[in-house]
Symmetry: C2
Subunit: 336 residues, 2 copies
């Protein structure tokens, strides 16, 4: 008999997640009722945001309950259906539990996707998924970089950052990325459209400040922040009068005692605005963004990378890679 | 022969300003040339912002040069004039050096003020000066508190905060202030229009968080920040989804190693915007704000307090009071 494996939260992580915080449980595959369909999940999107949902407190999303399966963006195929709109064989994408089989009711948030125009269905979890869409609306709406402006991006080799560089450069801005290590820095310039890269590895805040100043000699007009910690302080030390900081992630702070940002005074002294940004802000416009991104990929004007691990047993190792930076591309776990 | 005393910067303060960082120098009273007038300064506005101009780096204002006199908003009377618009006997307000006599050229930034409608000319350095105007445009433009919203103000008993509470309450918002000690807290509620006060003295960030939560049981929609440090962190821990933080000052961080703000993640998790705000943003509209504030005072709808010290030799003690919180009202030094 087929089983449904679910990746569940046993205890809330105190700092970095440990294997003992999670358990893979096996249940019977659910039986669908009136108006429901059964989705076989093929791909699981592994994102830093998942870490922020493991804490006690609700954020822009409800916290994951202890004992429940973790939540992720997933891509799957409808295997059985009493659903009014979704048919057997449809590829569907939605926010579901991390499990082999998910049930979607008539008002559920899984939507049909057309996998015929993308290189792999998994594109709906990467360039045409949450991270690509986050980059799209960041550039189109939040940052709106103009020709001649300097945009600095931290976590630039990551799933969002790698798209940001290409989109922003397409608008004529100068784009500098911060990443860890020479290989990632080379990829920023050679593959992701960045004008220059700054390697944060081995640098303290003063050295990083100086390296950013060298790459951005006229200062930073726009900062797209994914990391926090000394990256953010060093960037703020280079920000121009009237600058804008869009905070999309603070991955260096998710697992432990926050570093403590010391340069907020730059907001005051240089009339800088800083705002948190998460994709649900543009929930009503995701289709528009997805179409634009797929068109760019189809025309060969946008490249993207996926780091695919296989099997439910690799969900945790894949998740942990996000925090040591060892993933190379958008992290996805392939189940089928 | 009359002398011109000037309060000059001898060395840039490293941390808290010390007497040895400054020197009172005496020079001859300047002789005016073509198109200039000579202003006898009667009042000097002593503001925390002056501390931020003593550092090496230019901000929204040029840094004060070592050897030059400090800069302040001053109020004086024209004593001699070749100026095309300013006549002997005119009261004028402007950004000048801290000195007995200032010279204003034909394009200078001193403007005539009508002292007949205010209780004391010094009102043009307090309620109708930079601090009152900062509060006015904060409430009218930056915060725009609406009925039913919760506005939290740190440094609420200060020159700006004491006006903010009254103006915001006039718009129907609920307003809670943070101040140091029971006397200031009582004044917030009894005199400055606050619905409730939170005393930060003796509290760590957890205790302050809890005290704010008690005063703001439905959370904080708008935060007007003047202090930084644990006040800001404790406030951010109470901020609501979609909240707004206007940073007008970070006085706890001006004199030393910044505390390091640990709760920036709240910006991300609750889609909060935070921006630095300084009055020059509204430079073109100061007359409009000044008129509105003077009208409110004249109608008895706005109270304000001044803490007046006398004599050039008390500029430094007056300045230092801003950092230990021992001033009671807008700090002004009266020279004449």
């Amino acid at each position: 008999m087929a089983v449904n494996r679910r990746f569940t939260l046993v205890s809330r992580p105190d700092g970095a997640p440990r294997p003992s915080d999670f358990r893979l449980v096996e249940e019977a595959v659910p039986v669908i009722g009136e108006g429901e369909c059964l989705i076989r999940n093929h791909y699981i999107s592994i994102d830093p945001a998942i870490r922020t949902w493991l804490n006690q407190e609700d954020t822009y999303m409800p916290a994951i309950a202890v004992g429940d399966a973790l939540r992720a963006s997933t891509l799957g195929v409808v295997e059985a259906s009493n659903h009014p709109r979704l048919k057997v064989g449809d590829w569907v994408q939605g926010l579901n539990r991390i499990e082999d089989y998910s049930v979607c009711g008539p008002d559920g948030a899984n939507g049909r996707v057309d996998v015929s125009r993308v290189p792999s269905p998994s594109a709906f979890l990467s360039v045409a998924g949450g991270t690509g869409l986050t980059a799209w609306f960041a550039v189109e709406e939040e940052l709106q970089p103009k020709a001649g402006q300097m945009l600095l991006v931290s976590g630039a080799a990551g799933a969002v950052g790698s798209i940001i560089g290409q989109l922003a450069r397409g608008r004529g801005a100068r784009v500098v990325g911060i990443a860890g290590g020479p290989a990632k820095c080379a990829r920023l310039v050679e593959r992701y459209g960045y004008d220059a890269a700054v390697d944060y590895k081995g640098k303290d805040v003063d050295a990083l400040r100086a390296a950013i100043a060298q790459a951005c000699p006229d200062g930073v007009d726009l900062l797209f922040e994914n990391v926090g910690g000394i990256c953010l302080d060093a960037a703020l030390l280079n920000i121009n009068q009237g600058g804008l900081v869009v905070v999309c992630g603070l991955i260096s702070e998710y697992n432990g005692e926050p570093y403590g940002t010391r340069q907020l005074i730059r907001l005051l002294m240089h009339s800088v605005a800083m705002r948190g940004y998460v994709l649900p802000k543009y929930a009503a416009r995701l289709g528009e963004g997805r179409k634009a991104l797929i068109d760019l990929v189809a025309r060969g004007e946008l490249v993207y990378d996926e780091h695919v691990e296989e099997g439910m047993e690799n969900v945790l190792p894949a998740f942990m890679r996000l925090f040591d930076g060892s993933n190379e591309g958008k992290m996805v776990v392939k189940l089928v």
